[in-house]
């Protein structure tokens, strides 16, 4: 009996110790993306901010992140795109270089997968909860600065099935403010908070394939030249930026966003998305499709069969070019997606071969992945094509070109492979 009680006592103690250990180790080991896996979007920390700096060659930049305090005081906060991170602008896939400075973007970020080689400053894991002081409030420099998804306002709305409903415009001299609510396209009972945003004579308005301006809306008697008008929940999509709002630093508006674009109808946003998609398709065809090596089966005399997952977020016409029995090339790339060799074009050093199989994942595909696995056979596998490493792949139908100097590595410089966070100013 004593023995049984002792065993039960030990079991309870053990369970208690386990329960105590779990929260401690969970605190000690916060979630980080793991090599070879696409991290779940729901585990990402979400925030939004104004794009203030771009180093597109290294897929990084800075956002002025919206927090609880005065937006203008927030230091630009460095971020790096994960290799499989997706950037969207005007509801289309883009490269960072395509997003104008000043655009307000929605970000979903994680802690650095490997802090030792982070291209942006590594911060304490609880940084998002700290008050930055100097009236800036909390949330302006999250440690989750490795971004899986970065998207502008219309892309965010289209992905989430949201729409802006314009309630009222107040105008004087081609500038003013708009009261609007962002809410689901599908009606529900929930009440959404209205937001007051500014616009001015530089705000672009898109109607079908027309590019019009505030003065055109006034001339057409759609908006008044002066005063207020009820807009009766007119549904639109908005492009959002930020501009300083009047105030003396202590009073005034802390954070008010500015409308850069208004898309009045579906045709106009589809038109914008078309141009951006075509631009990105040409870009990927010249830079090759990025992906990750899952497995390498080595043969004799340098032969190998490489299984790679193509990264997601591209236009479907690009994936369609990866077909069984199509010739192609595969090249090593870094986390920045820079080609490891390119002085004579990436095609010069890449492994040449053939796609022997294309397989599509069934079920839900995680963000970052295309769900497409390519089995590629080469007669000469190059260094860097190893499981977990990043590659770029080109079907032979894509043009063979030279890429610009800052987009490939040369002479194996560690600084080029692992860019340091030193370029980011400390404020």
């Amino acid at each position: 009996m004593i023995r049984i009680q002792f065993v039960i006592g030990c079991a309870v103690l053990c369970l208690g110790a386990v329960l105590l250990t779990v929260p401690v180790s969970a605190e000690e080991k916060p979630f980080r993306p793991v090599a070879g896996q696409f991290p779940p979007l729901e585990k990402a920390h979400a925030y939004r901010g104004e794009l203030v700096f771009v180093d597109h060659a290294n897929r990084r930049g800075s956002l002025r992140v919206e927090g609880s305090g005065k937006f203008y005081r927030n230091d630009p906060h460095p971020f790096a795109m994960l290799p499989y991170g997706i950037v969207r602008y005007h509801d289309a896939p883009v490269d960072l270089r395509d997003v104008p400075l000043g655009t307000v973007l929605h970000a979903h970020g994680f802690l650095p997968p490997n802090p030792k080689i982070s291209a942006v400053p590594v911060l304490p894991t609880n940084n998002k909860d700290k008050d930055a002081g100097h009236y800036r409030g909390t949330g302006i420099f999250p440690a989750e600065n490795h971004v899986l998804l970065l998207e502008d306002e219309p892309s965010h709305c289209r992905r989430k099935g949201l729409i802006w409903k314009l309630m009222e415009v107040e105008i004087k001299g081609n500038e003013g403010s708009i009261l609007a609510r962002r809410e689901p396209q599908k009606k529900n009972e929930k009440k959404y908070e209205p937001e007051n945003m500014t616009f001015d004579a530089a705000t672009r308005i898109w109607r079908g394939r027309e590019s019009i301006r505030i003065s055109d809306l006034i001339n057409e008697k759609i908006w008044p030249a002066n005063g207020k008008k009820d807009l009766s929940d007119q549904t639109v999509l908005l492009g959002i930026t930020w501009k300083p709002a009047p105030g003396d630093g202590l009073s005034g508006t802390f954070t008010r966003f500015h409308i850069s674009d208004i898309w009045l109808d579906d045709k106009s946003i589809e038109h914008a998305a078309y141009f951006q998609t075509e631009k990105h398709n040409a870009f990927i065809r010249s830079r090759w499709m990025p992906g990750r090596v899952e497995e390498v089966t080595y043969g004799k005399f340098g032969r190998a069969t490489v299984t790679a997952t193509l990264f997601g977020g591209m236009d479907s016409t690009l994936y369609d070019d990866f077909k069984k029995d199509v010739g192609g090339q595969i090249n090593g790339a870094e986390n920045t997606l820079k080609h490891t060799a390119g002085h004579y074009g990436p095609g010069h050093m890449a492994s040449s071969g053939k796609i022997i199989r294309v397989k599509k994942t069934r079920g839900e595909i995680p963000m970052g992945s295309s769900g497409i696995h390519v089995h590629f056979e080469t007669d000469l596998v190059i260094e860097a094509i190893r499981p977990g490493r990043i590659v770029r792949i080109r079907p032979d139908s894509w043009p063979k070109m030279q890429i610009p100097r800052e987009e490939y590595l040369f002479q194996n410089s560690p600084e080029a492979r692992f860019p340091t966070p030193d370029i980011f100013p400390k404020y």
């Binding site: 530089a202 019009i212 300083p244 630093g249 202590l250 141009f275 040409a282 002085h343 030279q402 890429i403």
Partner: protein
């Protein structure tokens, strides 16, 4: 007679020595912009290249400069705008932040005015003549301090030029255009240039934004094959993309403005963007003279920098109240945590004078005489300032656009951020 000859010989020898000395000193002291003077555009070195990097807060960036060789190999070449340097995009005033990466720009640059304070690498003065392997000559000029940076339509409009389209060849909504950039009216025939375009090329007609597919649907361009375009006059936006088939340098058309209305609408939009920007960041200029009074009062003569929209200059009127703040060479305000207005000198514009005759690029030709009852440090002859008529909005500017804690690295940004290739 002999004495006269000897005198002549001595005079000739002296003159020769003088010539040699002046040549040598000209070689030793190449032209650099001087504080308090706008350098003549004619002395600037002209080049063009693709914008590949922007640090707009410090008014600097990098261009991939067109040289003689393989364009793709040319490393991004750092440049800094002079404080009075003018930027133009789509026929209007712009900030560096307004120009998309990839845009091909025309630049006019000088050697660093003061190499010790240069925010971009200082290079040997003859660097533009050096050959850099397959890249050829001209890709890294030492004249990296710019007085003018403008995109293709701005350049064409300033020079009175247009692109005359000769022929289009296309397939699957992409192809090539052969065109000549030459004076709108008269002038000599220019060299033909072949440029690419694709389905992402934007075509502007009046207030319409068209696709290549729209021109085909309208029967203006063929769906495939060639068509003569008979010198159709347009303006082009130019970028660069890698080109297959070992073509060293071929530029790409990002935009085609088919008519004046389309171009004017683009310029209007950019002008309004820039006007709102300057009203919140204040008009830049420099101090010509300061007359000190008693107990901190002073009368300041300042020249407003050029290249802005006329409506902004029109706001500087005699009798208007205004504020003046010291700024750095990158035009960053020296204070701003509580808005630039918090520490700026307040006062009144006593007089506005306009310079007669030719106004050098960089200057507006407008001088203001401003009286303040409390002059702040930084407002000294030769220094840069920003001025705000009091009816411009009093706003807080973002953190990267003002100095904090008097950090020397913020005042004088180091060129260390630019990668070495």
């Amino acid at each position: 007679m002999m004495r006269l000859n000897l005198t002549r010989w001595i005079a000739a020898l002296h003159l020769g020595v003088c010539f040699l000395v002046s040549n040598a000193s000209a070689q030793e002291k190449p032209f650099r912009p001087e504080a308090g003077k706008f350098p003549p555009l004619a002395q600037a070195h002209g080049f063009r290249g693709e914008l590949t990097f922007v640090d707009h807060a410090n008014r600097r960036g990098s261009l991939r400069i067109q040289g003689e060789g393989n364009y793709f190999r040319n490393a991004p070449h750092p440049f800094a705008m002079l404080p009075y340097g003018v930027i133009r995009y789509q026929g209007a005033q712009a900030g560096l932040r307004d120009i998309p990466i990839g845009t091909v720009l025309h630049a006019r640059g000088f050697l660093p005015p003061d190499p010790k304070l240069s925010s971009v690498p200082v290079l040997p003065v003859n660097n533009r003549n050096k050959t850099a392997g397959y890249s050829g000559k001209g890709i890294a000029p030492a004249e990296n301090h710019l007085i003018l940076l403008e995109d293709e339509p701005s350049f064409c409009q300033r020079e009175g030029k247009v692109w005359k389209l000769q022929e289009v060849e296309l397939q699957n909504f992409a192809g090539k255009i052969v065109a000549r950039r030459e004076p709108k009216i008269g002038g000599t025939k220019a060299e033909e240039e072949t440029l690419t375009f694709d389905a992402a090329t934007r075509i502007w007609r009046g207030r319409e934004k068209l696709e290549v597919a729209d021109l085909i649907a309208d029967g203006i361009w063929p769906a495939s094959g060639k068509k003569a375009l008979k010198d159709q006059a347009v303006l082009l936006g130019i970028t660069w993309k890698p080109t297959p088939s070992n073509i060293f340098t071929r530029f790409h058309i990002s935009d085609i403005w088919l008519d004046d209305v389309a171009m004017q609408r683009a310029a209007h939009n950019q002008t309004e963007t820039h006007k709102a920007f300057i009203r919140t960041r204040w008009m830049p200029g420099w101090i010509d003279a300061v007359e000190y009074g008693k107990f901190g009062t002073a009368t300041i003569t300042a020249t407003l920098f050029g290249g802005m929209d006329e409506s902004l200059y029109a706001d500087f009127k005699k009798g208007a109240h205004a504020q003046m703040n010291a700024v750095e060479s990158n035009l960053k305000h020296t204070h701003g945590a509580y808005s630039p207005a918090h520490m700026a000198s307040k006062g009144q514009i006593l007089e506005v004078t306009k310079i007669k005759g030719e106004i050098p690029l960089g200057s507006s030709g407008i001088q203001i005489h401003f009286k303040t009852d409390l002059i702040i440090e930084g407002i000294r002859p030769g220094r840069n300032i920003r001025v705000r008529p009091s009816h411009w909005p009093n706003v807080n500017i973002p953190r990267e656009e003002y100095l904090g804690d008097n950090n020397p690295l913020e005042r004088f940004p180091s060129p260390a951020i630019f990668p070495r290739y």
